[in-house]
Structure formats: C-alpha cells, structure tokens
C-alpha cells in the first residue's frame, strides 16, 4: 500500500523579508489613517483603485520577483509573499494589478516574447498596466478544454472570434490573456489545439461589458471578440501549448495567501471590537478560526518552500485552496453568531457593511480559479484514485 504523506517545511526567511513586511505594514497603516483607502473585504477581487496600485508601483512592491531589466527587483518569492499578506490583511484595494502581478506577469516572463517582457513587465511593475484573464466562456466554466473562442490564421497574425466571460476587472485592464482554439476539436485529444494570446483590449473588434455581481459590484466582465486582429507576436508561448500553460499557471495560483485571507479584515475588526470584553464562548469561536488560519498559513508557506526547493507540490497547493477558501466562508458564517447580517452594505456601521459585503461576496471564493469540486478531483487523483 502506498502512503500518502505530506511535509510542509518552513521556508528560509531572511531579515530582509521581515524588514520589507514591516515597511509595507507601516505604509498601509499610514494610508488607512490618512484616508488613502478604506479597507474592503475580499480586497484582491473587489477593491479596485488604479491610483493605489500606482502608489504600490512607485514603492516598488509589484513584480518584485522579476529581473531588474524588466522592472522587477530580483527579490524572492517570499518577499512577494510577505507583501501580498500585508495587503490582504489590511483590506487594501489591490484588485487592479493583482492578476498581472500574480499570474500574467510571471506567464509573460516565462513564455512571452522579448518585446512583451521589455514593454509590458515594467509597466505592470509600475502599477500602470493591468491584465485580465480570458479563460471562462458562456459554455465553458470549470471545463476549460471546451472553449469555443477561435483564433484563425490570417496574413501577419490571427483573428480572434468569441466571447470570454467572468473576467474580473477587465474594464480597468489594458490586456487580456485569451485562451483560444487554434486547432480543430478532437474529442480524443480535448487538450490539444489551444493557444494563449496576449490581446490589447483596445484592439478593433473587442468590446468589454461589465456584469454586476450579487454584491452590487461590476467586477465581472463579458468580452466580445469580433474577428479581432492580433499580430503573430501576440501569441503567448507556443501555438497548441495553451492547455499546458494555463494549467500550470492555475496550479501556481492555488496556494497563495489570498486563498485563506480574503475575509481576514473582517475577523481583525471583529477581534478589535470584542477583545476588551471577550467572553469564553466568543474566545473559543475566535480561537478555533485563528488556529485554522495559522495551520493554513503553515501549509501555504510550506508550499512556497517546496516550490523554492524545486518541487511541484500540486496536491498540496490544491489542498490549500480547497481548505482555505472554505475557511474564508466559514469565518463569516461563524461571526454571524455575534453580528447578525441583515442589512445591505452602506446601512449600519462600517463593520456591519464589511460583514454584509463579505456574505454577498463569499459564494465566489470556492468557485474562482477552478471550483473546489475540480480541486477535490485533482486531490483524489493525486493520491491514486482515477
């Protein structure tokens, strides 16, 4: 019998990481104090503030792991980890640049053309260039291999036709990474014939329309491509390799702190409210949540350490996302015991608003970036069930 064993080592954290963390924390504290931003829940998906993103760019806190020649700072993944944690727990409005910093930038760095790296990465790092994900479609959600958006070869490039759905923040973005079918559909090789493109959203034939979500925010978008032309060098990576690129991209984004800290700001405020007169029952509820956060953080940092050591902890990363996103939801459910949620955001005090907003946003936690059901399938296959 094979054994299922995981180990979550502690990453080597040098002093410069702690110093950077302190610096970011102090900056955010001052921003909140001076009214630079009002903390929001689920800030990495709901807090859009391009000016704030630019401010972070000026601080040098975006794209920190990228090489200096492309606007980065050659820092470690742990430096980035510390920055993102501090931004998340402060509820800072970071959505505008989040995807480009976490996902699209690294993808361009790994697969993009030299021109893309020179022109786009420094703009992302400056907090001026934002990128949306063009994955889901009206007929294609968790089953990404079924995408219908098509890119047809034309002279000097490609013509893209189709619709991308649920792209977060696309209206604030300059580019979208679009997964499109470039080869014929083959029922036996569902993952073949897909290619990624980096499409400027101001290209002729591209229209972006906001979609209001149940929390009242228009962060989702529907993007139409009507024979939108892109030149050959808009191909991101290799033609036909889109599936492989997208799945490794998704595997990378599963274990970060945004998978268990999306509602931390609410917990923080709740603790601040109740710390002084806390009774035994409240303490037990808070304690149980805090323990789970600590354990998940150890797990998430463990995945970071494993990645750093050159491993591919795919199951571990899926575990962080499955457990972490459910915890983010549980936090709100459990706090309801002390702060019932009845009114829409904007009525009641700031804290009540955060609670309402969290409740209205939480269904997305266990969906975005691949549903938890898909993740559990990955986990089950990973331990030997097919």
């Amino acid at each position: 019998m094979e054994s299922v064993r995981f180990s979550f080592p502690a990453p080597e954290i040098d002093e410069s990481v702690d110093e950077l963390r302190k610096e970011v924390r102090a900056f955010l504290k001052e921003e909140v104090r001076s009214g630079g931003f009002i903390p929001v829940t689920d800030c990495w998906c709901a807090g859009v503030d391009p000016d704030f993103s630019r401010k972070l760019g000026q601080k040098g806190w975006i794209g920190v792991t990228w090489p200096r020649q492309y606007g980065g700072r050659d820092l470690s993944a742990l430096h980035r980890y510390a920055i993102t944690e501090e931004l998340l727990v402060a509820g800072a409005p970071v959505h505008a640049h989040w995807i480009a910093d976490r996902q699209s930038g690294p993808l361009i760095l790994a697969k993009g053309t030299e021109d893309m790296k020179r022109n786009i990465l420094p703009q992302i790092a400056a907090g001026k260039c934002f990128i949306a994900l063009g994955l889901s479609e009206p007929e294609s959600g968790s089953d990404l291999a079924s995408v219908r958006t098509r890119a047809a070869r034309v002279e000097g490039g490609w013509e893209i036709t189709g619709t991308k759905l649920w792209s977060s923040g696309a209206r604030h973005c300059q580019y979208m990474t679009v997964l499109a079918r470039t080869g014929e559909r083959d029922p036996d090789k569902r993952h073949a014939g897909l290619t990624q493109f980096l499409v400027p959203l101001d290209s002729p034939g591209v229209t972006v329309r906001g979609i209001r979500d149940m929390s009242g925010v228009e962060h989702f978008n529907e993007t139409h491509f009507e024979s939108a032309f892109v030149p050959d060098d808009a191909v991101l990576g290799a033609v036909g390799e889109g599936w492989k690129q997208v799945t490794s991209e998704l595997a990378l984004e599963r274990s970060g702190p945004e998978r268990f800290l999306s509602t931390f700001i609410v917990l923080e405020k709740a603790m601040q409210h109740s710390a002084a007169g806390m009774n035994g029952h409240q303490a037990a509820v808070f304690g149980s949540i805090l323990a789970r956060i600590r354990a998940l953080r150890a797990m998430s940092l463990g995945v970071a350490a494993l990645l750093d050591q050159g491993h591919s902890p795919e199951i571990e990363a899926a575990l962080v996302k499955d457990l972490g996103t459910r915890l983010e939801q549980d936090i709100i459910e459990r706090l309801r015991e002390f702060w019932p949620i009845q009114m829409k955001q904007g009525y009641g005090d700031e804290f009540q608003s955060l609670m309402s907003d969290s409740l209205l946003r939480q269904p997305s936690f266990t969906l975005r970036g691949g549903t938890n059901e898909v993740l559990r399938g990955i986990i089950a296959r990973g331990v030997g069930l097919n």
């Binding site: 303490a283 150890a298 463990g302």
Partner: protein, 363 residues
C-alpha cells in the same frame, strides 16, 4: 531535521513495520503482551531518544522525538512509547537517572498535579498513562509554585488501572503522603501549564500519525473495493470524501510541524511561555477537530467493514477519539487561544499593525 535523526526514524519505521501489524494491535488489547515488539524497542534504545548522550541516551532533537511519536501512532503501537519518551525527558531535564530497557509511566494528565510537602507527595492523578508494565512512575509535583519531578516504584503506590476509549492504559493513582524514591531539585523553567502544552503537542502528533494511517487505509480500501461494477474510488462522492480526509490530515501535519519547529527554537520547552501558546494550541485544536472529521468520512467510505473489530480502522479511530480529549480538547485550547489573542490586543490598545490580530497570529 538532521541526517542522524532521519536514520533513527527509518530504523524505527522498519522495526514498527516488522513487529507491529494489525493483529499485534488487536491481540495486545486482548491482553496478549507484544513481547517481541517490546524487546525490539528496548534493544533499539528508542525510549531514550530524548535523553542526552551524557545521561546514556540518544541525544535526539525535539523534532526527532515528536516524529517518532507521530510514526509510532501511525502503527497504533500498543506500547507506551510516547509516554515513556516524555517521562524519560522529564527525568533527564530534572537531573534524575534514566533507565534503559523499560517503560516509564507518566503520572500527569494535564490537570492538577500532586503537591509536595516536607518530602511527601499527596494528591490524585486521574489518568496516568503507561503505568501497567512500567518499572518507574514519573510524577511532576508542586511545592510552593515550583515544579519538581518525583519517581516511585509502582509497587509503592496505590493504582487503579483503567482503559481509555482506545484500550490504552490510563490509571488512577492516589498519592497519600507517599515518599518518592527519587526527588529532583526544582526544575528550571518548568511550569505545570508548560507541561500540559508539551503533552498536548504529543497527543496532536499522535493524532497526525494516526490520521495518516487512516488516510492510507481509506485510499487503499476504496481502490480495492468494487460496488456497482467499479471501484468505490471511481465515484465522485467517494473521491470528495477522500479529498476531505487528505486535507484534514495534511492540515494536521502542517499544524504539528509548525508547533514542533517553534518549540525546538524555544530555549525552555516546558515553560508555558506565552510565545508558545499559539503554535501549541493551534496544533491541538486542528488535530482534535480533524480527528472527528476524518474518522467520520473514513468510516463512511469503509462501510460496515470499518466498523468491525478485526479490520484495523477502528484501532485508529478509537485512538484519535481518546487523544483529542486528552490534555485539552479543541474547545479548551480554542478558548485559551482566543483569550490570549484578545488580551494581546487589549494590552496594546491599537488598531491594525502592532498588537493587531494579524501581528499576533502571524508570528
């Protein structure tokens, strides 16, 4: 962990695998002493893993001992290895002599400890572990708020042997002005709460080991067992249960590993220092919560087979159900953790930043 630690762990793993199959565990509960397992453990010197070399021990790190405990639990080892390791560590820390080749009982259950007055020990320990078969009973005692370690020969004290839910020996010991055979000087940096936290981590490590085994058993079972013409593991409903089991088990592993690292970096592991409360409470809370969730899913996936005495699953479920209660269940430690963070915040009286919840839990 150091390389020599890994060698010792590998040796222990082979020893446990050779000498402790499921039948050995069941037979031990039916009063058949696993003589060969005892012998092999004594010969290997594993009971001395935490005893310094100068005192005749292995001189292993805290991490080594906790890993041994986790590994032993993944075999449901029906011997008091964990208890003896802790008891011997207390003897060594307090400067008392440690014997090789025997079991030591831990007369400490996380509740009030007996008191010492003019050289005599009085009080009741409700659930001492490892007492039957032990040649020495190790008792932390309090005299004027100071912890000392006392030892007794089992024949010299009044014991009533009970069994835990898992069939592990838990004995009620009454000390009635009993005169110890050895009594240590006050132990530097040792508090009753520190001992309790340490033992809670021991139980959390045991739960982590047992959950790993439950995961293996369940994954193995749903791969083999066919119903409706295919393996159970092909059903998505079952796959999702497995994913839950794997997740809770892995989270428990992560929780105990972070606690062991924090404890290893701490100069006085038994001090009950406030720095240690968060990592140790985290380990026991997460492990105890996982114990219920994992066993529920594992039994469901196993069907009636998992409910039978003969099939090994029940040895592990009963163990985690009793270990989660010992040295404080999740409810107890959650309350303490929540209160500790709350008082950390109130004493700082500041908002986000230093003294915030995040600042406290991210340490």
């Amino acid at each position: 962990m150091e390389q020599t630690d890994q060698l010792i762990l590998d040796t222990a793993h082979r020893l446990f695998a050779d000498q402790c199959d499921a039948e050995t565990v069941n037979r031990a509960e039916n009063c058949e002493t696993p003589d060969r397992l005892w012998q092999a453990i004594f010969e290997s010197g594993l009971t001395l893993a935490w005893v310094p070399e100068a005192a005749g021990g292995v001189g292993g790190s805290l991490a080594l001992g906790f890993n041994l405990i986790r590994q032993a639990a993944s075999f449901a080892l029906p011997v008091p290895l964990a208890d003896t390791l802790v008891a011997n560590l207390l003897l060594a820390k307090s400067g008392l002599s440690v014997s090789a080749g025997c079991w030591a009982a831990m007369a400490f259950d996380g509740h009030e400890v007996p008191s010492l007055l003019q050289g005599e020990v009085s009080g009741v320990v409700e659930a001492a572990s490892g007492a039957p078969g032990a040649t020495v009973v190790v008792v932390p005692v309090l005299e004027k708020e100071v912890v000392r370690i006392a030892t007794f020969a089992p024949s010299a004290i009044d014991m009533e042997h009970h069994e835990s839910l898992a069939g592990e020996a838990r004995s009620r010991i009454i000390f009635d002005s009993a005169i110890p055979s050895q009594l240590s000087a006050p132990v530097d940096g040792m508090t009753v709460d520190g001992l309790k936290q340490f033992c809670a981590l021991v139980r959390a490590c045991q739960i982590a080991g047992a959950l790993e085994k439950i995961t293996d058993l369940t994954v193995g079972y749903v791969r083999e067992r066919h119903q409706f013409g295919r393996p159970l593991g092909k059903f998505q409903a079952i796959q999702h249960k497995i994913a839950d089991i794997v997740g809770e088990s892995a989270l428990t592993g992560a929780a105990v590993e972070q606690a062991v690292r924090k404890l290893s970096a701490h100069p006085v592991p038994f001090s009950g220092d406030s720095d240690m409360l968060l990592p140790l409470a985290t380990a026991k809370i997460v492990a105890s919560e996982a114990a219920g969730r994992v066993t529920r899913n594992a039994h469901q996936a196993h069907g009636a087979m998992g409910f039978s005495f003969e099939y090994p699953l029940q040895q592990y479920s009963r163990r985690v159900w009793s270990w989660r209660e010992e040295f404080g269940p999740e409810f107890y430690w959650s309350g303490r953790l929540g209160m500790a963070v709350a008082s950390g915040i109130s004493s700082h009286g500041s908002n986000h930043g230093d003294g915030g919840t995040w600042d406290l839990v991210s340490q």
